[in-house]
């Protein structure tokens, strides 16, 4: 009995931490409709600041709590700065741009933190006065956990009071329910948004600061918490603070008991719960429809078939690529394979997002399944390279078929979150299922067949598969299937009114995109000779998003230009010490200054040239 109580209390303590960070995320989303990836960074910075302040002040109980609150306040100020400089400019941008922009902030904050505090994990001090354990029914319970259990509901109460008893709070609630209305009331929106951002960041900072007696402060804190924070926010209903609280308790307590039965479950459990909740209640426990989309975009221009001149230029480029092994060095050839893999991956993501209008935060799932399926076909089934290459994309297609069925039931941010959940579930499975996937150690020795083992021969295999895949997807985008998919994106109601089963069509589009991402994964696996869980990770998904954005989402050529640019920039930049800052900076420049990406820039240039010529 005592043991179960102890589990419950641990669960509740975790729930408090989770609630603090998720509530801030939810409040920010509710008012500004921004899905803030940088929220995890605020949490991490809160922990680092608290660590420094506590050790520097070294002032007993009072000093400890003073440091915690001060750290949270400082994070609030940092949040304000980020809001003023960056987010203010993208409130009306589509959700994809917002997400990627906040990811740029994540990268910059990571390097700033590294520069200030170093790469070593920092072990925080215990909380003075709460540094021992009390016995409850015979089980030792850390006093600090009990304090956390009290702090969660106390903060919930405080937020409730602010939201119901102050004019500002009432405005925040009104804005969460209906953004236009607040604008109509003549409220200063800019001020309301900034204040909301300060509060949200403060809560994230507080969550991080309170964490220092419980876990080491590290540079991984940001991305390790953000997935779970998203999940809690989505389950509770985006914009709902009490929903976030219930969701945090639900997940943490379920987790505390589930690990007793099945210890490996903790990585995937939150995402499984989220998937279940979203299927039953598509907008979360307390969420409302109508909040799932970011700003609206200008409609895309109609697609054009290649003109004679364009076709010739394209053929020349493909020829140049085909002949490149003759005159480039081996390491360049390997780099070119990377470019082709990335390009196919980006084109498949663009097929889903640009053509299909389904923003995916978890497209790496299908890339990774393709890679793992190939590796497992070789290692477990003993297949040769060619059969493995043919089989593996079907594995990815099956995974996309399965998860896509759930995802296409939702739209906008919710759909994106569910794709993220799917990817995290698959990542968790590969990470944990040691016997089959090798877990953390991955699968090694996935080399091409002997005849294909030279860099040159493999280059041509990759060339055939990737260029073939890109060509097929381009063809599909121009086909009736692709046009209808775009039609569903443009106007679901019109598509339904001309006899289209819109959900089924999106489902099939999702699956096609997944299959080709899987093909990219296959080529990737054999080119590297190994697969690790990173192949399905958030970072890989985000890379894809950045490529699409960098190239320009509105053009079919966008992902091709974007992926090539991305790999080349990455190859150059990652040799530098603080490459994340540079990368984050590039992302922000694109989002803020050139939202139509390289393809848009090229288009404008062409138009300019044509006008001069005329």
């Amino acid at each position: 009995m005592g043991f179960y109580l102890a589990q419950l209390l641990t669960g509740l303590a975790n729930a408090s931490s989770l609630f603090l960070i998720a509530s801030g995320l939810s409040i920010i989303f509710g008012v500004t409709r921004i899905v803030n990836f940088a929220h995890g960074s605020f949490y991490m910075v809160g922990a680092y600041l608290a660590y420094s302040l506590v050790t520097w002040l070294d002032g007993g109980i009072l000093g400890f709590w003073f440091s915690i609150v001060l750290a949270a306040l400082l994070v609030g100020v940092i949040g304000l700065v980020v809001e003023l400089i960056i987010l203010r400019r993208i409130y009306h941008a589509p959700e994809l741009f917002q997400l990627v922009a906040t990811f740029g902030v994540v990268l910059i904050v990571q390097d700033a933190t590294l520069a200030i505090w170093g790469a070593e994990d920092l072990l925080g001090p215990r909380a003075p006065g709460l540094d021992s354990a009390v016995r409850i029914l015979g089980e030792p319970i850390p006093e600090y956990d009990l304090a956390l259990i009290a702090i969660g509901p106390a903060v919930l109460l405080a937020i409730w009071l602010v939201f119901h008893r102050t004019r500002w709070g009432v405005l925040v609630r009104a804005a969460t329910q209906d953004r236009e209305m607040v604008g109509a009331l003549g409220v200063n929106q800019a001020w309301l948004f900034s204040a909301t951002f300060i509060l949200g960041s403060f809560l994230a900072g507080l969550g991080g600061a309170l964490q220092i007696p419980r876990e080491a402060v590290s540079l991984q804190m940001d991305l390790s918490i953000i997935g779970e924070a998203f999940v809690v926010t989505v389950i509770g209903g985006m914009g709902s603070v009490s929903g976030a609280f219930i969701a945090a308790v639900l997940i943490s307590v379920l987790n505390a008991f589930a690990i007793l039965i099945f210890p490996q479950i903790s990585i995937v459990l939150p995402f499984v719960v989220m998937a279940v909740v979203l299927i039953v209640r598509p907008y979360g426990i307390f969420g409302r429809p109508g909040s799932e989309h970011g700003g609206t975009e200008d409609p895309d221009q109609p697609l054009r078939l290649l003109s004679g001149k364009g076709a010739m230029m394209l053929a020349a480029a493909v020829m140049a690529l085909a002949l490149s092994p003759v005159f480039v060095a081996d390491f360049t050839m390997i780099l070119l394979v990377d470019v082709m893999v990335a390009t196919l991956f980006a084109v498949s993501l663009h097929f889903m997002m640009g053509v299909g209008g389904m923003v995916s935060f978890g497209h790496a799932a299908y890339f990774g399944v393709g890679a793992y399926a190939a590796a497992m076909a070789v290692k477990l089934l003993g297949l040769g390279m060619i059969p493995a290459m043919l089989l593996a994309p079907f594995g990815a297609a099956l995974a996309a078929l399965f998860f896509g069925w759930f995802c296409v039931r939702l739209s906008g941010v919710y759909l994106a979150m569910l794709t993220l959940a799917a990817a995290q579930i698959l990542w968790g499975v590969t990470f944990q299922w040691q016997d089959v996937t090798g877990g953390d150690d991955g699968i090694l020795g996935v080399w091409p067949a002997a005849w294909a083992s030279s860099d040159r021969v493999y280059f041509y295999i990759a060339f055939a598969l990737c260029i073939g895949g890109i060509w097929a997807l381009r063809r599909a985008a121009h086909s009736p299937f692709g046009y209808v998919l775009r039609g569903v994106r443009d106007s679901r109601i019109r598509a339904e009114a001309i006899g289209v089963d819109t959900r089924f069509h999106q489902w099939m589009g999702f699956t096609v995109a997944g299959a080709f991402a899987g093909l990219a994964g296959v080529v990737f696996a054999f080119s590297k000779g190994s697969v690790f869980p990173d192949a399905l990770g958030i970072a890989q998904s985000i890379d894809g998003l950045i490529m699409v954005l960098l190239g320009g989402i509105h053009a079919l050529a966008g992902p091709i230009l974007g992926a090539a640019a991305f790999v080349l920039i990455e190859d150059w930049v990652t040799r530098l010490d603080y490459w994340r800052v540079i990368f984050g900076g590039i992302i922000l420049v694109i989002v803020l200054l050139a939202p139509d990406g390289i393809a848009g820039g090229v288009n404008r240039l062409m138009r300019l040239l044509r006008r001069d010529a005329a």
């Binding site: 409609p299 775009r486 106007s491 109601i493 339904e496 001309i498």
Partner: protein, 256 residues
């Protein structure tokens, strides 16, 4: 019975409000029927039940003797019911011609074709339909650039793409200038005659209604209160009462 459409005892309420209450009517081939009534009378609700967007509480809707209730909108479309929207809904990222081609592609059951080039399919048929609504000159323009009145005509072309037996038009002229309205409905009336399509439309502008409708149904608070030709409706005391203060509208309509 040669009725194309037979509606029987159709009913729908929202909470306590009887939005549509025991409505029955039928429609002959080639008939141009207007459904009028003040705001909130239940016209849109009625339409949405005919085309499958809303599930009625009771009643039946038969197209050429086949029950439509319970079918999703896309099935009803395939059975030969076209529609235009009160607020236009088109594919903005495509050209005008491609919008029509999409309906043709779906009609010919080629939406899962992954290989052909959509923009090259059914070009002549699409151009013929655009010709019908006098839009062929704008065929290559992006749909997002069209003026509202042109979008309405494009919707008409789309709705005719699968050679429907029945066309449902909810407030086809909403948001248009008065002169444009008359023109659009004259165009529609001409097409009805040429193709033998049956049409049900709702309309605010009485000039338009009296000028073209073969028969008029008047809906008020969900119930059918009158039915007849323009003259009969104009003289109906019940209708005059509903349109209190709208008497001038009827007078104006006399010489339309």
């Amino acid at each position: 019975m040669s009725a194309v459409l037979a509606v029987d005892a159709l009913a729908k309420s929202f909470g306590g409000v009887h939005a549509v209450d025991d409505v029955s009517f039928s429609l002959d081939k080639g008939e141009f029927l207007a459904l009028i009534g003040p705001n909130g009378a239940g016209k849109t609700t009625c339409f949405n039940m005919l085309n499958g967007y809303l599930k009625p509480d009771g009643g039946s809707v038969k197209l050429n003797g086949r029950e439509l209730i319970g079918l999703p909108p896309r099935r009803i479309w395939r059975l030969g019911v076209g529609r235009t929207f009160q607020i236009t809904a088109t594919f903005l990222s495509m050209t005008v011609r491609e919008n029509v081609q999409m309906a043709l592609i779906s009609h010919h059951r080629r939406i899962y074709d992954l290989f052909s080039r959509a923009t090259r399919l059914y070009v002549d048929e699409a151009m013929a339909l655009l010709d019908l609504v006098s839009m062929s000159e704008q065929a290559e323009r992006p749909c997002s650039e069209l003026a509202y009145g042109d979008l309405k005509r494009l919707e008409l072309a789309i709705a005719l793409a699968h050679e429907p037996d029945l066309l449902l038009m909810d407030e086809p002229t909403a948001g248009m200038a008065p002169s444009e309205r008359i023109a659009l409905m004259a165009l529609t009336a001409g097409i009805v005659e040429k193709r033998g399509v049956s049409v049900v439309f709702t309309e605010h502008d009485m000039d338009v209604v009296f000028a073209h409708a073969h028969r008029i149904l008047v809906l008020n608070r969900g119930q059918l209160i009158a039915e007849g030709t323009g003259d009969q409706i104009r003289k109906n005391p019940l209708v005059q009462e509903v349109y209190l203060g709208g008497g001038s509208v009827f007078e104006g309509a006399g010489h339309a």
